[in-house]
């Protein structure tokens, strides 16, 4: 079912944490709400769930205005960051709880729990207690408990952040597969951009309660809407150079180069991704600088270069062997340059 947030504001006392958010999630879509801590992303999720009240604005699930409706009538299910499993109940009882509370007949409960347990591969563990399970297993129990009701939407609050890196990767793939199978609208909150990029159909990036960009991962990567998005998405982050833009030519203290735009801006920022840059001889690149440090990452080398008054990171081949302090040039294609206005951060070209 579609989920829509219309001009949502939320304040805690005098502090406004969500400022005028408009969001529309399509039926069956996997939307990731991405942001650093304090960005308001968890608050947004909790407002959709009904765990927080809305200061102004409306929340719609399907065609129903649920802004003033209690969580249990909204037909949404939530997976908490800490899983929120009931420690004194078996896995079976935990998963069955939403149905038990609604007083469904025993046979129906039995069938539903078995079905869901099979889907998340928890069948052999139904008699265990949460304290006997590993982190990944507990997470699957939380997932099963959310799935059993076939809600209109799943709400997930950083469900993978308590897992170790290897397990996280595995569960990411499982989650994506499962969501695709079930086709239920999912709103997923995280601070990890890798999760956002890999899982989402679309990403909503929040900063200090304001929506920065709502787009597919590809678009957010390839054409970030403002400086914040440009610096947040991508690892290692995009290189940003201050300078002036005159008739499409960008000039900094370290050099000047052409850009795809024809505009003029007195204070502008040019962004180039590390993988779009190459290290060359001093005279041949767009920019001059010197090597600050190199880090071998296995299949490539990250070269941090001192350029003008700032640093740039370049992705070089794994056989890169220049020394610290060597003068080098950094080269990149014109079309790889992103341009932003320095004052307001908006994209120019």
């Amino acid at each position: 079912m579609r989920v829509r947030l219309a001009n949502i504001h939320k304040s805690f006392g005098h502090v406004e944490v969500v400022k005028g958010l408009d969001l529309e999630v399509e039926d069956g879509e996997f939307l990731v709400v991405l942001g650093a801590s304090g960005s308001g992303k968890t608050t947004v999720l909790r407002m959709i769930a009904g765990l927080e009240s809305v200061t102004s604005g409306r929340v719609l699930i399907g065609d129903r205005d649920v802004t003033d409706v209690l969580p249990k009538y909204r037909d949404v299910a939530m997976v908490f960051q800490s899983y929120a499993l009931y420690p004194h109940m078996t896995v079976f009882a935990n998963i069955a709880y939403p149905l038990v509370v609604r007083k469904r007949p025993k046979a129906e409960i039995q069938a539903s729990v078995s079905d869901v347990a099979r889907q998340v591969q928890l069948e052999p563990l139904l008699d265990r207690y949460p304290r006997q399970l590993s982190g990944g297993q507990r997470q699957r129990v939380a997932l099963a408990r959310a799935m059993i009701r076939r809600p209109a939407a799943f709400l997930m609050d950083e469900p993978l952040s308590n897992l170790d890196a290897k397990l996280r990767g595995y569960m990411r793939a499982e989650l994506k597969h499962m969501q695709h199978e079930l086709g239920i609208t999912t709103i997923y909150v995280t601070h990890d951009q890798t999760e956002a990029m890999t899982l989402a159909h679309r990403v909503a990036l929040l900063e200090k309660g304001v929506l920065q960009q709502l787009d597919t991962p590809t678009n957010m990567y390839n054409s970030p809407a403002n400086l914040f998005v440009a610096g947040f998405i991508g690892s290692p982050p995009m290189n940003l150079l201050d300078g002036a833009l005159v008739d499409g030519r960008f000039s900094t203290t370290a050099g000047s180069f052409a850009t795809p735009s024809h505009a003029s801006h007195t204070t502008a920022v040019a962004g180039v991704r590390p993988e779009d840059c190459r290290v060359t001889e001093v005279g041949r690149g767009n920019i001059v600088g010197e090597v600050y440090t190199t880090e071998l990452m296995g299949d490539h080398t990250l070269v941090t270069c001192q350029v003008g008054g700032t640093t740039m990171i370049v992705k070089a081949e794994k056989t890169f062997n220049r020394r610290n302090g060597e003068a080098i040039g950094v080269d990149f294609a014109d079309v790889a340059v992103h341009l932003f206005d320095k004052a307001c951060g908006q994209r120019i070209g």
């Binding site: 009240s53 200061t55 003033d68 209690l70």
Partner: protein, 350 residues
Amino acid sequence: MTRGTDPRPLMRRLFEPRRLDTMAPAPRIFTYAVLGLWTLIVLFPIYWVLVTSFKIELQVDSGPYYLPFVDFQPTLDAWTFMLLQNNTLGPYLNSIVVALASTFLALLIGSLAAYALVRIRFQVKLAAVLTFIVLVIGVIVAVGALDVPWPAALVAAIVLLLLALNTYVRRFNAAVGNNDIEFWMISNRIMPPIVAVLPIYVMFQHLKLLDTQIALISTYTGVNLPIVVWLTRDFFAGIPLDLEESAEIDGASKFRVFFTIALPLVRSGLAATFLLVLILTWNEFLLALFLSNANAQTMPVLVAAQNTTRGPQWWYMSVLIVIMIAPVIAIAGLLQKHIARGLLVGAVKG
């Protein structure tokens, strides 16, 4: 922040909250009613005592009067009598001195022991403990039943203990550890004071310390040690080891670490424990009854004695009760949050 009218049916409107952080009308009325009723139950007896302290005999005997200046004329007669003519100040001072001194001592000794039990590993040989117990019993029997002079019995016991420690005790390895020692200290709380009071009474009689503040202070310290150990133990267990270890590496002795690092870190827990023990000691009756007479009498004993010396002269007794309650209410009211947290910590670890 209601948005428009409530579209739900009547029963849901009454019993189901509109939003998660509010209460529905019916439960809310019930809650305030019950809490209000209990507030009345708590405050009324105290109000009654306060009001009675401003009455004279006639007003008490001729039936209940509830409101000063409205039902009856309040007077300060009872107050002037109890504070100026009657010897109230003596016991009051005794109570203050005894309570403060014994609480402070109990806190010092108890927290020191609790800290050691948390940070230092003890292994006391079980054989040594058993031998010790046997020897103590032996001394008591010898002095009590066999009329052996007690210095001789004591010396003999010490010699035997040292002998034992160097011979067979070495052979057995079974030992009691930190947990056992803690349990022993804390389990002393189960013992009803009445069991210990008689021998303590006799001991102070021999030492000619009956009816002195010292007797009361030392006894209360002993009685309150288990609580102090029980509560402060968890506070010390909760502070991170790193701070103390880095201080020790820098050369501080264990005592210095305790006084300059550990103790300040558990300030609020200590405050809660201090208050709790202070209140317990301030109100303690049985031990004071046995161990004090005219000189070291504390307030609870004085209050109880009104029963016999004056019969039910409520107006005088009310004055005593009010001056007993007032300071403790003032302190505890300001710091009840600390006490709640202290009790909770103790209850969680048990």
